[in-house]
Structures are given as structure tokens and as C-alpha cells.
Amino acid sequence: MKKVSTGVLSLGLVLSLCFGFSLFTFNSAIAWEPKKPVEFIVMAGKGGGADKAVRFIQSIIAKNKMSSKPYTPINKPGGSGAEALVYVKNAKDPDHTIMFTLNSFYTTPLRQPGLGVDISKFTPVGRMAEDTFLLWVNKDSGIKNVDEFVKAAKAAGNKWIMAGTGKNSEDNILTDFLNKAYGLNMKYVPYKGGGRVAKELAGNNANSTVNNPSEQLGFYQAGKTVPLGAFTPKRLPLFKDAPTFKELGKDFVYFMQRTVVGAPGMSAGAKSYYQGLFKKIFDSSAWQGYMKKKSLQGGFLTGDALMSYWMREKAVQKAILQKMGALK
């Protein structure tokens, strides 16, 4: 009696195992799904533009129940993103590690070859947007257009303070461009974070900035600051009065990428899962509304198209950094 029951039991066990296993393989053949919480690395500190975007994406995923597992934002701002890049490069579980990137994705590995980071090894998930830059002054200055700005900055010489987000950052690149293009000698003073830079301008502790729209929007709406020109191919819908530098005869266009990157060595199943997920997020009305409000540009890019976009951008950034002398 005892023998029979064990036999039946083990047979049942084997059968159920087989069934369970076949079900499992059947499932995984259809679609890969995250099996544990996904680490969403942010290359910048808490409260910055990238961090806000990641937390917004997290809210879209949670609200619309797009994933069975949570996405946990982890900030690794150290060393202009070097900390984040090294962490994701060596990710122990590449299928559950993704990263939200800025332009430091290109510039930091270029400037610190010792990190051994090769961005072509990372997995292209999806470009969510390109952030734009404008030239801003305080309304009290009375300056209304780029001509008046150039006149005032020329007169002030190196007493003219341009506040920005760090040496060799995007803001520094744009300041160098303006100095060269208009024969100015503005002094570049680095601060921590774009929000702080925007506040220095509104408080009259700086003469001009090259902030992203989202950073200056509050002060602009309160009538404290004015955009003079845009570093975009076309005028921005939110700031129709600010001409592009292209219109003004200086062909200079500059963007900040906002792209989701997967860890190197991510499996094909995970890759297509994340690509599909972020396409869905990009198309959601919540993200489209966010883009409109923050004056973000650009369409969704993924896969090989995104990879070749990275390579193109990397070459552009390299040329700019070399011109600045930040790269030998």
C-alpha cells in the first residue's frame, strides 16, 4: 500500500514537473518578462531634469500597469556619470539593469578613456526625447534680442557672467560657441545643476544662461527671465518670439539626448521587451503631454537606428570637445 502510494506520488510529481516545465518554456518562447524589480539607473542626481523624467516614466509604468515588476530609480551621479557607466557596464544582471542617459553618455567615456567604457557595447533601448537649449537673460537687463545681448556683453568684456552646469558640460560648449561666433569674452561660472543656474539668473547673480526650457519655465512664466535665441533647427512652439541661431546666420544646433540604454550583454528577449515597453511609454498621452510641457523634441528611436544615432552624436561631441581643447 505504502509502495503504491509513493509510486503514484512520484509519478504525479514527475508529470506535474513536466507539465510545469513545458508551460514555462512555452511561456518564455512567447515573451520575456522581468522576473524581479528592474534597476533604473540615473546618470545624474536626485531632483535634476533626468531624475524627474525617470520618476515620471516610473509613474506611467505604475499607473498603467505596464509591467508586473516595479522599476526602481537609482541615482549614480558621481564623476559626470562615470560611476553610472561603470556600474551598468559591469551589471551583474544585465537583463534587469537599464539606464537613463544624458550627453555625458558620450562625453564622459571620451574624456576618461581609463574607464574602459565602449558605448557601442550597450544595448539600444529607446530615445525618449531630445532636450533643447535657449539663451536667457534677466528681464531687468532690458535686453530684448541677440543683437542687444551681443552689444551689452561686448561692452562688459570678461565682467559678463555666464552661469552654467559645470566645466566642459553642454552649457560650457554653448558658451564657447557664443564667445567665438560673436567675438565675446564672457566669463563662464559653473554651478551644480540647471535649476541652480536658472535661479542665479533670476536673482541677478549672473548675466545670462543657456538653460533647458524646463529649468527656466517657472521664471519665464512669472516674467523674470526672457529667452533670446534657440539652439534648435526650428523655432520652439513655446517660445515663438525667440529666433533660432540658424535664422541669425550662425549655423549651430545643439541637443541633449534623453535615452534609455540597456546593460551590455542583455539577452535578445529582454532587449525586445524593453524596446517594446518604452515605445508604448513614448506613445502614451502622459509622455506626449510631458514632452509638450517641457518643450522636448524628437521622435522615438530604437535598435540599429538608435545605435547609428549614438555613433553620429559621439563623433559630433568628439569634434566639439577637441575644438574646445578638452580632448587631446
Binding site: 536626485k46 516595479p70 564623476g79 559653473p190 554651478y191
Partner: protein, 499 residues
């Protein structure tokens, strides 16, 4: 008058049943999060942010603000009970709270901390209600020179902090400054002092790692040495009568509480400063103006009251630039700011105009959160005291585990745990050699704020130090700082030659 009507409307919103429940739950959660070493209001707010998608924006921000406030109260608990700062904002509370607990006066320290937090919260909410818009304008004009002058003042108050041995205090400050300089230099854009490119140093040395090391670990090693293996039981008892008696005695510290509240509120308003520097500065100032400076660091109630009043006041203050300028005054408000964007609110100068019910509902619930945090805190004091009665052989491993968790959580990096253990051993040795450790903690907090401010100022002025004496706010603060800095020297000369 208009603000008063708005505030009353705000109270109506804050006391809606759902919002009231959110306040109470938030306070209790915050108290727990704050009391866990390493887990501070930043982590609490960040972790619980996704939960707020379920309620309307006003309810959501009320919930998070209650956590924020509760954590400010809770941070003091582990500082006093275990000698480990429960949150970055409660580091200064350790300086005198722990010695009080060791003397068997833990209940006195806990009641003092809770009451001071309440006073700080109340004064700051009143200041917020009356002077929000003009103060926002003042905060806006505060540039790098003003911030550096303020930091100089903080350092000046701390030179006298380590007792009478000024060279050892200066040494301790310098160690803290060097640790604070590790990581990315924003002015040059280059990483520095990263010990051959160890990735763990890229994010700099988190000051909680230092604070938990030299207070938590080193303190434990010290206790083990002093007790020589004997099982020791802290003398601690508590009764309702004693709590009342403690409350009556606190009248004497009212002046310090008020001073700490005003200072904390003002420092909190400044962008990028926040509650931690505010609390440290209040501690330094309380010691400077005290008649009984000797007893600071050995269990002076004023030393508990000043930072606790200041950190609560600063947390309200930090809401101001967040709401009016869209600029966070502390890491926690940075997360709240992100939350507001998610809820579809645009922080900035127009928020006060376009979303009145949101702003004043928040302010009123800050006040409610303050009250409930006090009540919950006082109610739990007997439970906290009970923990202290545990034998050291049981308490020590608990403290050790909490220290390791506290070192790991802020950055999620094992590198920081090793670093914390090293700091623990070094802190123990420093203590044996009679080096004061509070100045090192101050320096690692304020150094990274002071250094860029100094260099930005000098960039603006073209290298001339006159910038600190020609701008109205900067000049007043700079002169005050210099007076404070030279005071000990003058005193020394006076005693040597004129007596």
C-alpha cells in the same frame, strides 16, 4: 489678512478625513523611517512617491510632507538612544543627546528633542505664513558670495566646538574638509582624490558614512573597552510624572529653541543648503552664546534643543524655494518637486497664484503633521526607553547591524560599508587620543557647500576677496563671521596680558 483666510481654508483641506488619515499615517511612517539609521526623509519620500499616484495631488503632497516631518522627529530617536544619527539631519543631536542617555537621562533628551521639534515647526510655519513671498525674493538674491559668508560663519562657531584644544579642533576640521573634497570637482569638471580610480569614490564620501562610522562603530568599540566585558545596563526609567517634570524644565531652554528655529528656517530657505547645515549651525551658535560652554558635548540639553528646533524649522523653510522658485532647498524637497511634476503641478512663482488650495493645504497640513508627530513621539517614549534597558550584549549586535544597513542604504554600495568600518576604527583611535569628532562631521557637510561658493565668488570677482565685503548681505555676514573667528584669539590675548 488675505493669507490668514487662505490658511483657514488650508486647514479645512488638511482636516478632510482622507487628508487627516494621510497625515497620521505619514507621521508614523516618517517617525520609523527617520529612526532607522541611514534611512532618512530623502529615502522615505523617494520610496513612497509611487504610492501617491493613488490619491489627488493635495493628498499626495500632504502624505509626503507628513513623512518628511515625521522623519525629522524620528531622526533624533536613534541619535539619542543608540548614538547613531538616525538621519543626516540629526547628526548634531548625537553630540549631546547620546551623553545625556548614557547618564540615564534619555527620557529628558527625548522629551527635549520632541518639544524643540514642535517649537521649531510652529515658529517656521508662522514665519512661512506671514513672510513667504518677500523671503522668497531675498533667497533669490542670495548668490555664491552670501552662501560662502554664511558657511564661514558656521565654521567660526565650530572652532570653539571641540572644547579648549583649538589645534586638535582645526586638525579635525581639516580631515573633514579633505574627505568632503573627494569626488567630482564641479568647477574643473575633473574627478579628484579618487585613489587610483576606485569607482566607489566617484560619488564622493557620503557624510553619513563618516558620521555612522565615528559615532556608531567607534562609540561601540569605546563602550566595549570601558565596560571591559562586563554586562552593563543603562540606567533608564520613565513615568508620566517624569515626562511632565522634564517638560517644565524645558522652559529654561526656550531661548535656544527660538534662536535655533529662526536660524534653521533661514538656512533652510537658501537653495542647496537644507536642514543638515541648519542644525549644525544652530548647535555651534547655541554653544557660542551659552554661559555654560564646558558642558556642551557632555550632555547639555541646549545642545539637543538647538539642532532639533533648527532641523524642523529648516524643513519648512526648504519648502519655500521649492514652491516659489521651483528650486529645492534640500535633497528631500528635490524629490517632492519631482512628485509635483508627476501630479501635473508646475512649481514656480505662479504656483501661489494658480494653485492656492494646494499651497495652503500643504502649509496647514505641515502644521497638523507637526502636532501629530509630537503626540506620537511622546506616546512612544516609554517604548524607546525599554530598548535602552536591554543588556549591552544584545544591544551591541543590533547597533552593529543598524550601522551597516545605515552605511549601505544612501548609495547602495558595499564600498561605503567598508569605508564606514575603517572610519569606525579611526574614530575610535581619535577618541582615545582626545580629538574632537564633531568638527570633522561639520566639515564634511559644509565643505562641499563652501568650496564651490568660494570659487564661484572669486571667479565672478576676478580673484578679489572684496566681493565678500561689498555686497550688502555678504558683508554683514562676513564681518560677523570674522568677529566670531577672532573671538577666541582675543580672549586668549586678554587673559594672558591684561589679567
Amino acid at each position: 489678512m488675505e493669507t490668514l483666510t487662505l490658511l483657514i481654508d488650508g486647514f479645512a483641506i488638511a482636516f478632510e478625513p482622507l487628508n487627516l488619515v494621510l497625515v497620521i499615517v505619514g507621521c508614523a511612517l516618517g517617525l520609523f523611517i527617520g529612526a532607522m539609521p541611514g534611512l532618512g526623509s530623502v529615502n522615505g519620500v523617494a520610496i513612497l512617491l509611487p504610492m501617491t499616484f493613488l490619491v489627488p495631488p493635495t493628498g499626495a503632497v500632504i502624505f509626503l510632507a507628513a513623512i518628511y516631518y515625521g522623519a525629522m522627529y524620528g531622526g533624533a530617536i536613534s541619535s539619542i538612544m543608540l548614538g547613531i544619527p538616525g538621519a543626516s539631519t540629526a547628526v548634531a543631536t548625537t553630540f549631546d543627546g547620546r551623553p545625556l542617555a548614557l547618564k540615564g537621562l534619555a527620557d529628558k533628551a527625548l522629551v527635549a528633542a520632541a518639544t524643540a521639534s514642535f517649537v521649531g515647526g510652529t515658529i517656521s510655519v508662522i514665519l512661512f505664513t506671514l513672510f513667504a513671498p518677500p523671503l522668497a525674493e531675498v533667497a533669490l538674491t542670495f548668490g555664491a558670495p552670501e552662501i560662502f559668508a554664511l558657511m564661514l560663519m558656521a565654521f567660526a562657531t565650530f572652532v570653539g566646538l571641540g572644547g579648549d584644544d583649538i589645534p586638535k579642533t582645526l586638525f579635525s576640521i581639516c580631515i573633514g574638509l579633505v574627505f568632503g573634497a573627494v569626488g567630482l570637482d564641479i568647477i574643473s569638471g575633473e574627478p579628484r582624490l579618487i585613489f587610483g580610480g576606485l569607482p566607489g569614490f566617484f560619488h564622493g564620501i557620503n557624510f553619513l558614512v563618516l558620521a555612522i562610522g565615528i559615532y556608531g562603530i567607534a562609540e561601540m568599540l569605546w563602550t566595549i573597552e570601558v565596560s571591559q566585558g562586563e554586562v552593563m545596563i543603562s540606567q533608564a526609567s520613565v513615568s508620566f510624572k517624569r515626562i511632565l517634570a522634564n517638560l517644565r524644565e524645558l522652559k529654561l531652554t526656550l531661548k535656544t529653541m527660538v534662536m535655533g528655529s529662526f536660524l534653521g528656517y533661514f538656512v533652510g530657505i537658501l537653495p542647496a543648503a537644507g536642514a543638515t547645515p541648519g542644525a549644525l549651525m544652530a548647535y555651534g551658535l547655541a554653544k557660542t552664546i551659552s554661559k555654560d560652554r564646558e558642558s556642551f558635548g557632555k550632555g547639555n540639553v541646549d545642545g539637543v534643543v538647538a539642532p532639533e528646533a533648527a532641523n524642523n524649522a529648516a524643513s519648512t523653510g526648504a519648502m519655500l524655494p521649492m514652491l516659489t522658485l521651483g528650486i529645492p532647498g534640500s535633497p528631500t524637497t528635490a524629490i517632492l518637486l519631482g512628485g509635483m511634476v508627476i501630479w501635473g503641478l508646475e512649481p514656480g512663482p505662479l504656483l501661489f497664484v494658480e494653485h492656492k488650495e494646494f499651497v495652503w493645504g500643504l502649509i496647514a497640513s505641515l502644521y497638523a503633521a507637526n502636532l501629530f508627530s509630537l503626540l506620537i513621539n511622546i506616546a512612544f517614549i516609554p517604548a524607546f526607553i525599554w530598548v535602552l534597558r536591554l543588556p549591552f550584549t544584545i544591544l551591541a549586535p543590533i547597533i552593529f547591524i543598524l550601522c551597516i544597513v545605515g552605511g549601505f542604504v544612501p548609495t547602495m554600495d558595499m564600498h561605503d560599508v567598508w569605508l564606514m568600518l575603517i572610519f569606525g576604527v579611526v574614530g575610535y583611535l581619535m577618541r582615545k587620543l582626545n580629538y574632537p569628532m564633531a568638527p570633522a562631521v561639520l566639515a564634511i557637510v559644509l565643505g562641499p557647500l563652501a568650496e564651490p561658493a568660494l570659487r564661484q565668488s572669486l571667479l565672478i570677482s576676478g580673484g578679489s576677496f572684496s566681493i565678500f565685503f561689498t555686497r550688502p548681505f555678504a558683508s554683514v555676514i562676513s564681518v560677523l563671521a570674522l568677529i566670531l573667528l577672532l573671538l577666541p584669539v582675543a580672549k586668549l590675548l586678554y587673559e594672558k596680558y591684561l589679567k
